[in-house]
């Protein structure tokens, strides 16, 4: 259906707007809880973009792991590490100016490079959404070793986190 031809840009810009708005919010806000909440917006927007990019599984994983797990962890960390409810440390003006300049230059350079290339040459765009089965097969066949390494890493992280966070006796 060609409904998508006019719907897709709208949805894209909607999600992109959410992502950028939240990301800018993260940068600007001084309140770390709000920053975490803005991060939820960014993560949700990126998940929406994944849906748009036909990566349904990845979107769901993004929501469940990032938004449901990591973000809760971060908020939890914020609560545990602040005595007063408002955690505000302002950077100095010179730092802010330098960082903004660098950020802008970086973005300009990246944008120049990205827009300077015709990406449609010899592209093989995907026409089907990636199914869970495909991803699973690839994960357990071609990417078995990274998969196993990742599982070991998770184990190490689990032990490490438990060790680091243990009560001091």
């Amino acid at each position: 259906m060609n409904v998508n031809t006019w719907l897709e840009p709208i949805v894209f810009f909607l999600f992109a707007g959410v992502v950028l708005f939240s990301a800018i919010g993260i940068v600007l806000t001084r309140n770390i809880v709000r920053a975490a909440l803005f991060l939820l917006g960014t993560l949700g927007g990126v998940a929406g973009l994944y849906f748009l990019l036909m990566a349904n599984l990845l979107a769901a994983i993004q929501l469940i792991v990032y938004a449901g797990g990591t973000l809760v962890l971060i908020v939890f960390g914020v609560m545990l590490t602040s005595k007063s409810p408002w955690v505000r440390f302002a950077p100095s003006r010179s730092e802010a100016a330098a960082a903004t300049t660098i950020g802008l230059v970086l973005f300009a350079a990246l944008a120049k490079i990205v827009t300077g290339i015709d990406w449609t040459v010899a592209a093989h765009p995907a026409d089907q959404p990636a199914t869970v089965r495909q991803v699973g097969n690839l994960l357990l066949q071609q990417y078995l070793v990274p998969f196993e390494v990742a599982s070991v890493l998770l184990l190490v992280v689990m032990i490490g986190a438990a060790y680091l966070a243990r009560p001091e006796n």
Binding site: L20, I32, Y66, G77, T81, I102, T120, A126, L153, L164
Partner: protein, 103 residues
């Protein structure tokens, strides 16, 4: 309306990346830096998935993105644990105070 292509996603990811860098440099709260890292990782993921969708057609990029999400979760867990210790010893979470080799 122009049709959406790889460029749009790359630009968005670039912006997200730069904002992540800004977050990392401008937040003095350690958790703020962690949030900046998450932004950067998301930018990278977005690139991967966009390339998968618009250029290669294979789903390898998504697999790598899955691994990145996993690593991000692991990293957050460890980072929070470290911040906890940091907070316990210095009673603050300002990273600018973390400039000693001991403590």
């Amino acid at each position: 309306m122009t049709s959406i292509g790889l460029q749009h996603y790359l630009l968005l990811a670039a912006a997200l990346f730069c904002l992540g860098i800004l977050t990392m440099t401008l937040k003095r709260n350690a958790i703020g830096i962690l949030i900046g890292v998450e932004l950067i990782l998301n930018a990278a993921n977005l690139n991967l998935v966009a390339f998968t969708r618009y250029r290669t057609g294979a789903i390898d990029g998504q697999i790598v993105a899955v691994f990145i999400i996993l690593l991000a979760a692991a990293e957050a867990a460890i980072a929070i644990a470290i911040f906890m210790n940091f907070y316990n010893s210095l009673a603050t979470i300002d990273v600018d105070r973390a400039d000693q080799l001991q403590g």
